[in-house]
Amino acid sequence: MNHFFARHLYLVDFTVASLGRRRGRNLGLFAVYVLLVFVLASVSLMTHGLRREAQAILESSPEIVVQRMIAGRNDPVPTGAVAAITGIRGVRAVQGRLWGYYYDAGMRANYTLMVPPDRPVESGAVVIGGGIARLRQLDTGDIVHFMAPDGRIVRFTVSGTLDSASELVSADLVLMNEGDFRAFFGFPADRFTDVVASVRNPREVGTVASKIALALPEARVVTRADMLRTYEALFDWRGGMVAVVLSGAVLAFVILAWDKAAGLSADERREIGVLKAIGWETSDVIAVKFWEGALVSLLAFLAGYVLAYGHVFYFSGALFEPALKGWAILYPRFRLVPEINGQQVATIFFFTVVPYTLATIFPIWRAATIDPDTVMR
């Protein structure tokens, strides 16, 4: 047993010395490798964190949202729909919602204006999300002006800001009183933006949704399960941002691994020839290359993963912000709950460490099994 360990320690000595002889090339390769793992792990940790965030938040979202569609577009729902939905068996409570979008031309940002259902806001006052407070440098007691669709400048007093820890759901919110909302947008008194319904028995949500769709043929019914599915798809590895990043990164890595596997440099072939000529076994040569692959890829994997953890959970994925932000001016500040999905980490490990190690060993196996004389020539 001691002999086994001693032999491998000597092989590691030789491997590291061999890597040191081609320091520039190997350091470059190592840096690319760390970067690749860092990007893949960052995307993986971030999307997993956002998906868990969406799941946790949407579990508290309305069970059923009823919209009205006209010519493929959302249209305000008549207030009579509330009574029609309330009459459906199995429905516990129904409430009309008032919300809409406001484009702040000065800041070039979009806000979501809404009337909070159970949180009264005084007339002439607004409660704003942390993103808007930061963007417009507003605080409680400040005055803010919005331009109504009819050209009027409407003045509001900021009566409070929403907790900054909730920016992931509230960065762009402006909460206001129902009267102010209707007056600001000229919203008809007999209309709501949409209607939310809760159901007595959660297992009957699908049935109730079908009944609503039958009772109101022009309605589009969105259940909580639909919302969850939307976010599952958004942060799923098969689609969305993960696919965008993965496709480029994996392709780059395939090129890297292919380059490595496609052939050995003359120096490496000569080195193998000399080793075999002085009595090394094929298995020794392969063991050296195994250690080379394992040391480089394990170290790169661990370094990339640790950097990605810091990037996502300490710096909120700051490097992705420009990409996620897109054309938007408002972007929430958020800290994700650090939850590490073992399966995702294992997947990254499998797709980076295993192919690289194999790609290192395979050409060596070909070179190490031929005659040293031929290799050295």
Partner: protein, 102 residues
Amino acid sequence: MNKHLRLSTTSLSVLAVALAAALATLVDAALRFDSEALARRNRAALAETLQLSDLSLFTEARYTRHPALADLHSAFQDHPAALDHFPSAAWMPPTRWHEKQP
């Protein structure tokens, strides 16, 4: 005793440190979990109070701000053949309404 460390000792030590750092992330995640999870419960409570249905991650267009409630013609908002022009829509796959029924 050797004055210089063997290369294998140095390299395996570096690997052990990296492994320890990776394990430390698990410890760090466990230590931070409670406080961060409390903040998430508060966010969920706010979402429940305000009846929110979406994350305010992409605020540039109505169908990126509220993908769960966007109309069925996303991302062909302006006319049926119009391609989407917002960058965040490149990060979002099309809504899978055809998979709506379980």
